[in-house]
C-alpha cells in the first residue's frame, strides 16, 4: 500500500519534468530514455505516433540490442540533439556556427576513436535496427574513413569476407591496377 503511494508520486513528478520511456535490452539492461531522444529511433517513433499509441505502457523490450550498444546510441543521440539546438541558436553568426561545428567534429572524432572494429559493426547493426538515420550515416562515414587506406586483407577481416579468387585471378587484378595498391597502410 505504502509502496503504491510512493510509485504514483514518482511517476507524477517525472511526468511534470520530461517524459521518459523505459527501454529494456536483450541482455537485461534497463534504460530510462528522454522522449525526444527515443523519438530519434524511427522504430519507436512509428510505434507511438503512426499507431497512435499513448505513453501509458512506457517499457519497451528491444530484442536485437544489447546494453553496451544502447548506452552508446543514447550518448550519441543526446549529444546530436544538443548540437542541433546549439546550431539553430547560432544561425546567422558565422563564428558561432563554426564553433558549434568544431565542437561537434571533436566529439564525433573522440566517439569513434574509442570504438573497436567489432563495436563499430555492432553499433551499425543496432542503429540499423532502431532506424536512426543520422547516426547510421555517421557510422557509415566512420567505417569508410577507417578502411579507405587499408589493405585488401584488412578489409576482408573487417567484413568477415572469404577470398573466392584463385591466386592467379588475384595476381591479375594486382597487375592491372598496381598503382591502387601503393602507399597502403601496413597491417
Amino acid at each position: 500500500m505504502a509502496d503504491d503511494g510512493v510509485n504514483t508520486k514518482v511517476e507524477a513528478v517525472s511526468k511534470a519534468t520530461t517524459e521518459t520511456i523505459e527501454l529494456r535490452t536483450e541482455d537485461g539492461g534497463v534504460f530510462d530514455v528522454d522522449k525526444p531522444v527515443a523519438m530519434e529511433f524511427l522504430i519507436l517513433k512509428s510505434f507511438y505516433e503512426d499507431e497512435g499509441r499513448v505513453f501509458d505502457k512506457t517499457s519497451i523490450r528491444l530484442p536485437n540490442v544489447k546494453q553496451l550498444e544502447l548506452s552508446k546510441v543514447i550518448e550519441y543521440c543526446t549529444r546530436a540533439l544538443e548540437f542541433g539546438a546549439k546550431s539553430a541558436a547560432a544561425a546567422g553568426d558565422k563564428d558561432a556556427e563554426r564553433m558549434v561545428r568544431q565542437e561537434r567534429e571533436g566529439f564525433e572524432a573522440e566517439f569513434v576513436d574509442e570504438l573497436s572494429n567489432e563495436m563499430l559493426k555492432e553499433l551499425i547493426l543496432a542503429v540499423n535496427f532502431l532506424d536512426i538515420k543520422e547516426m547510421l550515416d555517421f557510422l557509415i562515414r566512420s567505417v569508410a574513413n577507417r578502411i579507405r587506406n587499408r589493405s585488401v586483407a584488412y578489409v576482408r577481416q573487417f567484413f568477415d569476407i572469404e577470398n573466392d579468387f584463385t591466386p592467379q585471378e588475384e595476381d591479375q587484378i594486382h597487375q592491372e591496377n598496381a598503382w591502387a595498391f601503393e602507399g597502403v597502410d601496413a597491417d
Binding site: I140, V152, D160, I173
Partner: protein
C-alpha cells in the same frame, strides 16, 4: 556468438563513400565486391556523391600531365601529382580538349589520335579516326554529356584553305560514344574567323562559343545542343547606353555551373553571369577581381574555376595558378610549368569508364589498339 555480417545495403553505402583508388583496390576483396563496384548503377551513384566534393584540376604542359586537388588552400607545387597517361607515346604532347563527368577528351599532338580517358582509373578508349579527314586547323571542339541518351559526345570542326574564291572549306563532325562513330553536321555559316576561343564551354547540356560577327559588328554566343545536335543562339547581355562602359567581353566560361562572360579593364577582371540559362535579361555582374597590383599581362589570365566560397582560380600564362582573395584581389599560388602552352580542366574522381558505352565489344582491354 554469431558473426555480425553487415547487410549488403550498408556495405554499398560504405563503398560509395570511398575514394576511387580504394574502390579499384577493393575489387580484389571478393567476387561479390568486384561485381558491386563494377556495377554501372554503383558507378552512377558514386559519381553523384563524388560531384558534391571538391574536384581536381588536370594540367597539361610541356612538363607532362599533373593533377591538383581543388580544395583550398592549394599548398605549393609539391601538391601537384604526376599522372601516367597509359596511351602516351614518347615526345607526343597530350592536349586536353574537354572534360565532363570525370572523363577527359584528349588528343595526342601532333594529330596522332583522339582519346577519352578517366584520369582517376586509367580507363581509356581511342576514338576511330573521323571519316572526313580533320587534318585542317581545328577551330572548334567540345565534349559533353547527353543525358537524354546517356551518351558522351564530341564535336570537332576544322577548316582548310582551298585554292578557290571561297577561301576556306570547313567540316564539322560529331562523335557519339554509344554509337562509336562520327557523323558530319551541317554548318550553314562558317564561324572560323569569328570564334574567340576554340573550346566549347559546356553548360546545361550544350556547348557554347563566343563569336565576334563582323556584319553588323556584334558579339554572339552560339550553342550546340548535345541532345538535338543542333545550333542555337544564346542572348548576350543587353546593351544599355545609360550604363557606364563596361569592359568588352573576351571569353566565355562555366563558373559555378553558370555560363559566364569575362572582360578585362586595365585594372580589373569583370565577370558577368547568366543567372537563368537562356534568359538574356538575367545576365548580371557577378564580381570583379583586381590584378593591377601584380605584374601580369591581362590577356594571359585564364579563368578556370570558381570555388564554393566564391574565389576565382585562374591559370596565368600557362605557368601558374592564381586565385582571387576574398577581398577581390589576385595573388600567385602554385607554379607548375615554364612554358606558355598548357591546358587545364577540372574533373571529378569517378569510376565512369568510356568502355562502358557502346556495347559489349568495348569491354575488352584496348592496349592493342595503341600500338
Amino acid at each position: 556468438m554469431t558473426s555480425n555480417y553487415l547487410p549488403e545495403q550498408v556495405v554499398v553505402e560504405i563503398l560509395l563513400r570511398l575514394p576511387v583508388k580504394s574502390l579499384i583496390r577493393f575489387r580484389c576483396v571478393s567476387k561479390r565486391w568486384r561485381s558491386l563496384i563494377s556495377d554501372p548503377g554503383f558507378t552512377k551513384s558514386q559519381f553523384r556523391l563524388a560531384s558534391e566534393h571538391p574536384e581536381r584540376f588536370l594540367i597539361s604542359s610541356s612538363s607532362g600531365i599533373r593533377s591538383l586537388g581543388c580544395d583550398l588552400p592549394f599548398g605549393d607545387s609539391s601538391a601537384l601529382k604526376e599522372l601516367v597517361v597509359p596511351f602516351q607515346r614518347n615526345c607526343l604532347r597530350v592536349r586536353i580538349i574537354g572534360s565532363c563527368n570525370g572523363l577527359v577528351f584528349v588528343a595526342l599532338h601532333p594529330h596522332k589520335g583522339f582519346y577519352i580517358w578517366n584520369p582517376s582509373t586509367g580507363d581509356h578508349r581511342k576514338l576511330p579516326d573521323p571519316g572526313a579527314p580533320l587534318r585542317g586547323f581545328i577551330y572548334w571542339h567540345g565534349f559533353g554529356y547527353d543525358s537524354s541518351t546517356d551518351d558522351y559526345k564530341l564535336i570537332v570542326a576544322s577548316y582548310r584553305l582551298v585554292k578557290n574564291d571561297s577561301g576556306r572549306s570547313s567540316e564539322g563532325e560529331v562523335f557519339s560514344l554509344n554509337k562509336n562513330s562520327w557523323k558530319g553536321i551541317l554548318h550553314d555559316l562558317d564561324y572560323s574567323d569569328g570564334a574567340k576561343e576554340p573550346a566549347g564551354i559546356l553548360c546545361n547540356g550544350s556547348l557554347h562559343w563566343h563569336l565576334k560577327v563582323s556584319e553588323p559588328a556584334r558579339d554572339e554566343i552560339y550553342a550546340f545542343d548535345l541532345a538535338e545536335e543542333k545550333f542555337h543562339e544564346i542572348p548576350m547581355p543587353i546593351q544599355e547606353d545609360e550604363h557606364p562602359r563596361r569592359a568588352p567581353f573576351s571569353s566565355l566560361r562555366n563558373l559555378g555551373g553558370c555560363l559566364c562572360l569575362v572582360g578585362y579593364t586595365r585594372t580589373h577582371i569583370d565577370l558577368w553571369r547568366m543567372m537563368e540559362y537562356g534568359i538574356g535579361e538575367s545576365w548580371a555582374p557577378m564580381f570583379r577581381v583586381a590584378y593591377s597590383h601584380v605584374k601580369v599581362y591581362r590577356y594571359h589570365l585564364n579563368p578556370l574555376w570558381l570555388s564554393r566560397g566564391g574565389q576565382l582560380v585562374l591559370i596565368y600564362a600557362g605557368k601558374e595558378l592564381m586565385i582571387s582573395t576574398p577581398e577581390g584581389e589576385i595573388e600567385h599560388v602554385v607554379a607548375f610549368s615554364d612554358s606558355l602552352t598548357c591546358e587545364a580542366a577540372v574533373f571529378v574522381e569517378s569510376l565512369i569508364s568510356p568502355n562502358h558505352y557502346g556495347g559489349d565489344e568495348r569491354q575488352r582491354l584496348l592496349c592493342d589498339e595503341d600500338r
